[in-house]
Each structure stands twice: as C-alpha cells, then as structure tokens.
Symmetry: none
DNA sequence: GTACGTGCAAAATGTTTGCATCATT
DNA sequence: AATGATGCAAACATTTTGCACGTAC
C-alpha cells in the first residue's frame, strides 16, 4: 500500500516530512534513534527539524505505525515494522539488531512446548506468539 | 548473607551510602528510579547526593548486584534482582505479567542451543542472556 | 479558511563529570 | 598512607514545549 493511503487511513496529514520519515523508518534495518533518523532524512527532506522527527514518531506510534522501544543508555529507538520479531541487543552500544527473519522464526518455533503449555495452564492464558530478546556483546572485543 | 560480606566479595567499599542504597533497593517491591531511591534513602542516610545514587547503582550493576531497566518515558528503573525475567503480554489490555521465576528460568535455559549458536556466528556476537516475551490472550474469555 | 504541522530556540528532564574533600581499607 | 567514594555544581544529552509561520485539507 502506498504510504499516502496508509496515512489517510489513519487520519495523518501527508506532509513531505512525515512521508519521508516513515519511508526511512520502514527502510532501515536497525532500529534508529530519532537523531539517526534525522541525520538520514534531513539531506533529502530539505526543511526538517529534530522536533518534527519527535512529533512525527509520536504520531506514528499513536496510530500503531511505529513502535518506540526503550534502551538503557539514553535515547529511545524506533521501529516501523508492525509484526513482532526477535532481536539482539548489544550491551555496549545499546544498539538493537533484528535477527535474520529465518533465524527469528526458527527460534520462536522451537521454544520448548511443554514449558509454554505449563505457563498457559498456570496463568490461564493462550499464547499465540513470542518474541525473544537476546542480550549479547561483541564476540571479538572485550570491553 | 550480610550486605557487608556481599560487598566485600565484590570488592565494593562498604560506605554507609552504598549499604543503605542496596538495602533499600532490595527491599523495594516496585523497581525504583534513581530519583525515587534517593528520596527514600536520603532521610536515613544523612549525607547523600543524587550523583552518589547513580554512581552506586552503576557500581552495583557492574558487579551484577543490580540491573538497570529501560523505560520508554525518560528515567531508567533499577532492580536488585540479578536475573532477567521473561513476561507475558496480554493482547487485550497490554498488561504485562512477570512469569513465575522458575518458569522464566526454564524457558530461557531451554532455548534451542543450535539456533543461538548460529546467531552468534552469523552476527559475530556472544549471547550472554535472553528474555522472552510471550504474546497471549485470556484462555477463557473472548474479548 | 481552518486546523494542524513545522522550525526554531528555549526549557525541562535525566544522567554524567570535574574537582576538592572525606572515609574505608 | 593510599585508594577510592562523596558532595556539589556545572556540563551534557535527550526529549518536550511555546510560539509564529506555513501547508494540507
């Protein structure tokens, strides 16, 4: 679906800043911070301020087109993908990397069934999905 | 174990500020922010500054006696519990429930090893922890 | 034309730092 | 005595806000 239509459906004004920001967010593989998004989009968009990036991201989150994810080190990260996926969080940088789709799927699919069943029973819920966050550090460095 | 011994084991100086902060963190049921902890401990501790709270929390995190958890709204929260825990998110309400510690541990411990290994190799990282978010709905209701 | 979005700069918030002093080992 | 922690205030980083102007509907 075209971004314009998507925006209209959610009653969002189609300003060039918002369109550009959303496109950039969708295109990015890592989960950018507001600042990173600003640096990427600014050159193309001409007039753009950081405040607009924050406003836009908040508007997108409010209608569910983006998600805000907290980090332990300062800035929040954003993500345009609407379906849940697993990721790795790097300890040193706070950076979040998506797992390759195939690995992500396998990881979730192979979660231990019997434990899930026990959780369902004990909490009285039906689990329909899962997301794994792996905590990692770089393998080759030692900081 | 007495806090003093715990600190000595981790090569942390036993200052009254640190001892009081750690005790307060351990005693708290919700996960306090640095600011909240400061307000609670200050009256007892006499001399105490917010900077010391941050320093202390960082020191505690470094040796694994506390954990820093990000939030989407500004300040980080801290927790004296040393192990990451998984949770269930309810689809309808957005509510997040911690898994019982024992189930949480088993779930993480039994994550498929070979997939983790493959992820480590492909991304060049060393995974040292994990956290699972299960997405669920109520088993008996249909809202 | 109106309602809402934008840019800018300034404020608010949360966290870190530099440095002189003080306490623990 | 030496090492490291503390308090204070100032610096820093991230995010939010107020307001005049501009743009999509």
């Amino acid at each position: 679906m075209r971004t314009r239509d998507l925006f209209e459906r959610h009653r969002l004004r189609c300003t060039c800043q918002r369109l550009a920001l959303y496109e950039a967010l969708k295109a990015s593989t890592n989960h950018p911070t507001a600042e990173e998004l600003y640096r990427v989009v600014k050159p193309q968009a001409g007039r753009l301020s950081l405040a607009t990036v924050y406003n836009t991201l908040e508007a997108l989150c409010k209608v569910g087109l983006a998600r805000k994810m907290p980090t332990t080190n300062g800035s929040c990260r954003y993500d345009a993908d609407t379906n849940e996926h697993s990721h790795v969080r790097l300890r040193e940088t706070g950076e979040i990397r998506d797992l390759p789709a195939e690995l992500s799927e396998r990881l979730v699919r192979e979660l231990p069934r019997h434990i899930i069943a026990e959780i369902e029973q004990r909490l009285g819920v039906k689990v329909y999905g899962a997301k794994v966050q792996l905590l990692a550090r770089w393998a080759n460095r030692s900081d």
